[in-house]
Amino acid sequence: MELLAYAAFFLTVAMTYATICLGLNVQWGQTGLFNVGVAAFVGLGAYVSAILTTPEAPGRLGGLGLPIAAGWVGAALAGGVLALLVGALTIRLRSDYLAIATFGVAVALQLVFQNAEPLTGGAFGIGFIPRPFGGLQRQALPFAALNLALTVALVLILYLALERLAQSPWGRALRAVREDETAAESLGKSPLRLRLEAFVLGGMVMALAGAVQAHFIGFIAPANYLPALTFQVWAMLILGGSGNNRGAILGAVVVWAIWAATAALIAHLVPAGEQARASSLQLVAIGVILCAVLLWRPQGLLPERRAVPRHLGRP
C-alpha cells in the first residue's frame, strides 16, 4: 500500500521532469538552441502559478485564489513571454550568446525569487499552493493515483501534440533550418522566425511543467530552482536522446530513478554529518554522465528517427 503510493509519487515527479524535457527537446533536439536557463523557466512557471492560485496572504502580493487551470495557463504564458524576450535579444547573434544570455536569466531570476519578498516570499518561498484533487489528500493511495493519472495524461497529450507538430510542415522547416540554414533560407523559410517560435514553444512547455510540479508538491522555494536543476534536465535529455520525444521521456524517468535511488542510499548509509558531502558526488555523476554521453553516444539511448530515408540524407 505504502510502496504503491510511493511508486505513484516517484512516477508523478518523473512525469513533471519528462514535461520539462519535452519542452527542452523542442528547443535543443528539434532546433539546436542551447538553453542554459532551464531552472529559470521552470521556476518562473512555478512562481507565476503559485501567485495566481494561492489564497490571499498578509504581506504578500498576489494570492489571487484562481483555479489551478488558470495558474497553469498563466505559467505557460509567462514562460512564452520570457522566451520571446530572451530569444528576440539573442537568436540573431552567434549561437552561444543564447547560452550565455539564458545562463544570465537563470542567475537574475534566482535573485528575484530570493529577494523580491513581497512577491515571492523570499527564501521561505510560497506554501499552501492548491494541489489537484486536494480534497482527497488524506487518502494517500487514491490521491497519488489520481495525480499520477493527471501528469501521465499531460505528458501523453504533449507528446502526441509535439510529435504531430514535428511531422507538420512547421516541424520539417525547423529541422531543415537546423541541418542547413542556407538551404532552408533559399527555399523561403525564415530561420530567425522559426527558431524564435520553437524557443517560445519550448519555454511555454517548461514553465507549464514548473507549475504542474509546484502544484503537486504544494510548496516552492528558491532553492528548488538552482543551476543543479538545469544540469539534471540536460542530463535527462542528452542521455535519453535529443531530438526524440520518447527519448526525452525515457531519459527523465531513468535519470530521476538513478537520482532518487542514490539519494535514498545516501540517506541510509551515510552518517548525517557527511550527507551533504556525499550528495555532491551525485552532482559529479550528473556532470560526468553528460560529458560521457556527448563523447561516446551523442545520439543518446533512443536516437532521433530520420525523417528522410537514409540514402537521401547526409552520411
Binding site: S95, A99, I100, F103, Q114, R277, C291
Partner: protein
C-alpha cells in the same frame, strides 16, 4: 558615486578582468564559450591553498609563519601560487585532452563543446564540494587595516598589491600577444585556424599556450579573490556571469577589452550594492550583459559578432 565605491569596484573588477582574459582567449582561439573557466578559478584557489598548507605543515617549527609586512600573508603564499598555477594548468590541459580535444577531433559543433564544458563545470564544482566541503576557507586569518589614500578613499595593502599585480600581468600579456611570434600565431589561429595550419603554424601548440595562459590567470584570479574575500567551492561559478559579461563587453579576443570589461562590471556591482543592497550585486552583470547585447553585441573592442 563615492570615491570609496571606486576602490571597491576596481578591486573586485581586477579579479573579474583576469578571469575574463582567460575566457576571452579560449573563446576566440578555441572558438567556444568555456563554462569551466569559473571552476578553474575555484580550483586554482583550492590547489594553491592545499600547497600552502602543505608547505606550512612541512616547515612547522622550523620557520615561524610571520606575514610579509605590510601584507597579510607570509612567503608561503607566493610560492604556493606558482605551484597552484602549474597544477591548474595541468587540470585544464587534462580536461582538454579528455574532453574538448576529442570533440574537436570529431568535428563537433561549437555548441556541443559549450555543452560539454557545461557538464564538466558541474562535475568540477561538485568535486570541490566533495573534497573540501562547502565551508569557506581562508589563506590568512590576519586582520588588515585599510589605509587612507586621500580623497576619502581607503584600501588595504593586499588590495593595492592586487591592483598592481594585475596591471603588470595585463601589460605583460598584452606585449606577449602583440609583440612575439607566439602571440602572432595565436592571433592567426583565432582569425582562421585552417589557414594558419596550412601556413605551417603548430595549431596544437597554440591551443596548449591558450590553455596555459587561461588557466594560469584563472588561478591568479582565484587566489586574489580568496585572499581578499574567501575561498568557496562556488566562488568560480558565481563569477561566471560577470566573466561572460566582461568578455562580451570587451569584445571577444581582446585582452585590454576583457580587463576594461572586468573593471566596468566590478564598478557596476559596487554601484548596485550601494543603490540596491548587497543582495542584488549579481544582477549588475546581467544588466550590463543585456545592455551590451542590445546596443553593441560585438563589444567595445570587438571585430563583429
Amino acid at each position: 558615486m563615492t570615491p570609496q565605491l571606486l576602490v571597491n569596484g576596481l578591486v573586485a573588477g581586477t579579479t573579474i578582468g583576469l578571469g575574463a582574459i582567460g575566457l576571452s582567449l579560449t573563446y576566440s582561439i578555441l572558438r567556444f564559450a568555456n563554462f569551466t573557466q569559473g571552476d578553474l578559478i575555484a580550483w586554482g584557489a583550492y590547489l594553491t591553498l592545499t600547497v600552502a598548507s602543505a608547505i606550512a605543515g612541512l616547515l612547522a617549527g622550523l620557520a615561524p609563519a610571520t606575514p610579509l609586512a605590510p601584507f597579510s600573508f607570509g612567503w608561503t603564499l607566493p610560492v604556493a601560487l606558482l605551484a597552484g598555477m602549474a597544477l591548474t594548468v595541468l587540470l585544464a590541459l587534462a580536461l582538454d585532452a579528455v574532453l574538448f580535444a576529442r570533440l574537436r577531433a570529431r568535428g563537433a559543433d561549437a555548441i556541443i563543446l559549450v555543452m560539454a564544458g557545461f557538464g564538466a563545470s558541474m562535475a568540477l564544482r561538485a568535486g570541490l564540494e566533495f573534497i573540501y566541503t562547502s565551508a569557506p576557507a581562508y589563506f590568512t586569518h590576519e586582520l588588515q587595516i585599510a589605509r587612507p589614500l586621500g580623497l576619502g578613499m581607503r584600501a588595504t595593502p593586499d588590495q593595492l598589491l592586487v591592483l598592481g599585480l594585475t596591471a603588470v600581468l595585463v601589460l605583460a600579456l598584452h606585449l606577449l600577444v602583440t609583440r612575439t611570434a607566439t602571440g602572432r600565431a595565436m592571433r592567426a589561429v583565432s582569425e582562421n585556424p585552417a589557414l594558419a595550419a596550412v601556413y605551417g603554424l603548430d595549431v596544437a601548440r597554440v591551443v596548449r599556450v591558450t590553455w596555459i595562459i587561461g588557466a594560469g590567470l584563472a588561478c591568479v584570479a582565484g587566489v586574489m579573490s580568496g585572499l581578499l574575500v574567501q575561498i568557496r567551492p562556488t566562488m568560480g561559478f558565481d563569477l561566471l556571469l560577470p566573466l561572460f559579461a566582461a568578455t562580451i563587453l570587451g569584445g571577444i579576443g581582446s585582452i585590454p577589452g576583457a580587463m576594461v570589461g572586468g573593471l566596468v562590471i566590478g564598478l557596476s556591482e559596487a554601484l548596485a550594492v550601494q543603490l540596491l543592497g548587497a543582495e542584488w550585486r549579481a544582477a549588475a552583470a546581467f544588466v550590463v550583459l543585456v545592455a551590451v547585447l542590445i546596443l553593441r553585441p560585438s563589444g567595445l573592442f570587438g571585430r563583429g559578432a
